[in-house]
Symmetry: C2
Subunit: 368 residues, 2 copies
């Protein structure tokens, strides 16, 4: 019999859910290792050798707590983006920051707007703080900017979440249009602009860095182009009052020392990052050609992944299962109409070849 625990009102009513099942969990269920891991938009091109060396050299300093102010990293990021260090908040990945952002703005019962089928971890935090989600359907596989603004007004929303470029679809809007969304939001509504994939995007997709609106919070990460997903480090750029509020609730010593040192070094290794971005572009082109060759559509992407269009949710789910049976790990958009696609991270050339073979074999088994 379950004990009666004095859980808080919010947690009492919270369903058990995890935003993502990790690849290691899949491997344990699967009973054998996955051969190609291209499902979580990790950077198969790895971490900068400069960053790797910096982290390796820091292991002997790991007995020391980290600098909770992330002073050196913030200084470098401030110079990199041309903003004041007081406008930066460093966290243990965008995931942690999103949780803290929801926490500082949303009261239980408040409404929060996002796109239907967008980042599950954001939704997880919204539910976790007892707020209510309002979901706006994609239009032509793009986030619906006008719809998000309208929903924010209709629901008297506390915040809107927008990933640009978008995950899981890979599509993007021009930065000017994102700025336009911000202008259309209610006066007391924050815009969480998740730019996890900014490094891969055309510059036109990036909203102007000069936007001074205190309602804008942008998030960035070292998990994607910088190849440091396992290190857990990301940051927010926001009004300094927002940064101050985050600092009232965040896990103060939460960003580990190696991640801070590695991120600082990686930020300086611009040649490495440029090369990763170039390889990703090549991989996306190859995937687009593969789609054409297989008689499938695809969705143009400004990220390190590409969606292959299988035509229906059922076919996409079957394809995903077929790839997993062939030891290839991918994921797919969770909600219609995006769930007609499978989302494939750009792999190395040899991983892409393995994926292409497995995909071809899988497709051969699908009913036409």
């Amino acid at each position: 019999m379950s004990p009666r625990l004095p859980l808080s009102d919010i947690v009492q009513n919270l369903p058990t859910s995890v935003p993502f099942v990790g690849p290691e969990t899949l491997e344990r269920r699967h009973g054998r290792p996955l051969q190609v891991r291209i499902g979580a938009n990790e950077s198969v091109f790895g971490v900068s050798p400069v960053a790797a060396a910096a982290m390796s050299d820091t292991i002997n300093k790991l007995w020391m707590y980290n600098d909770p102010e992330a002073y050196e990293l913030k200084k470098a990021l401030a110079a990199h983006h041309g903003i004041a260090a007081q406008r930066l908040h460093v966290g243990a990945g965008i995931d942690e920051i999103l949780g803290d952002v929801v926490r500082i703005f949303a009261n239980p019962g408040d409404r929060v707007v996002t796109s239907l089928g967008s980042y599950p971890t954001f939704n997880y935090h919204v539910h976790g703080y007892g707020a209510a989600l309002v979901e706006v359907a994609y239009v032509d596989d793009h986030t619906h900017l006008a719809g998000l603004a309208q929903a924010a007004h209709d629901a008297d929303a506390r915040m809107v979440y927008l990933a640009n470029p978008d995950n899981p679809m890979g599509t993007w809007h021009n930065g000017a249009d994102v700025a336009g969304l911000l202008a259309e939001l209610p006066e007391d509504c924050m815009l969480i602009l998740d730019e996890a994939y900014a490094d891969f995007a055309p510059s036109a997709a990036i909203a102007p860095m000069e936007i001074a609106d205190p309602r804008l919070i942008r998030t960035r990460t070292f998990s994607k182009a910088h190849g440091m997903a396992g290190a857990r480090i990301g940051y927010a750029m926001a009004h300094e009052q927002v940064v101050a509020a985050l600092n009232k609730v965040c896990n103060q010593f939460g960003v580990n020392r190696l991640a801070q040192v590695g991120a600082l070094a990686s930020l300086g290794d611009t040649g490495f990052i440029a090369n990763v971005v170039q390889q990703v572009e090549g991989g996306r082109r190859e995937y687009a050609l593969l789609a054409k060759d297989l008689g499938l559509g695809h969705i143009d992407s400004a990220t390190n992944f590409l969606n292959f269009d299988l035509g229906s949710g059922e076919r996409a789910r079957t394809a995903l299962a077929g790839l997993l049976a062939r030891d290839v790990f991918i994921r797919m958009p969770g909600k219609p109409p995006g769930d007609r696609c499978i989302r494939v991270t750009v792999g190395t050339p040899s991983q892409r070849a393995t994926f292409a073979d497995a995909f071809r074999a899988t497709l051969a088994t699908l009913p036409t």
Copy 2:
């Protein structure tokens, strides 16, 4: 002018406070490096070479997100403690876990009991979730078990926090007495038993591992004896329903890959840990002799630090400032009567010698 941000009701009313000023911040204020860093109870004896090698070997896998289930580490911890893996929750240090524990049990306005002058980070989380602290004075520099139980009843408290061995005092109770506290608590009141310093404590100070009471949550860390403070990894042992509740709100991919790999390796390097514990015991004895030599009292400790008794808060604060002026970083208990002491982490033999010289010189400047 400050913008009007739509902050949540709780955060709106939250004062700006940080539980601890980090040594790096002190160095920046100080204008030069600290020569001896023995203020944060970090392990100056460093990390196990086995763990260091394991982490170094994992840097090339850092592009992958970590296993959110920390499966391998939980398996090893389960074997280590002789408990089921379902009773383990791994987090980014005890700090993160304490925040999540407060979150899953405390509604805004709920009362939470702790010792007056106990761990500030726990208090930070209690305030951060809008709960109210009830603080029970130490008795003879020991946490007051009967007082904590009484306060829990009087305040209809949702939880009680107890560090055993205690920080900042270093004192401890027998495990049987801790079990006795649990038995005295209200039926719907959780006991958060923070055992961060368990590795340094006599076995009698550890409450029986067999306690099945679902109200008991024990926390442990790799930040102390394991020398991995900068890696951010700790764990909770609790009823599996508590673990399930934590898993509904925690930062799912929050514990970085290097920390997981390093902790697993360090757990296996029992010889290294035993040696650290032995060196710490030797250092505590040396500090006690130093106190006697200087004509000061000290407080017996079951941790990796020792309190020197300066007789008054004013003298202790002056001594702390004098040590900092001599580039020695220590901390001190924040509340009377503990604030008559300075709290000194066990350093290496050479650090202890430097500290002894600086302390002697500082004392010579204090009014008698």
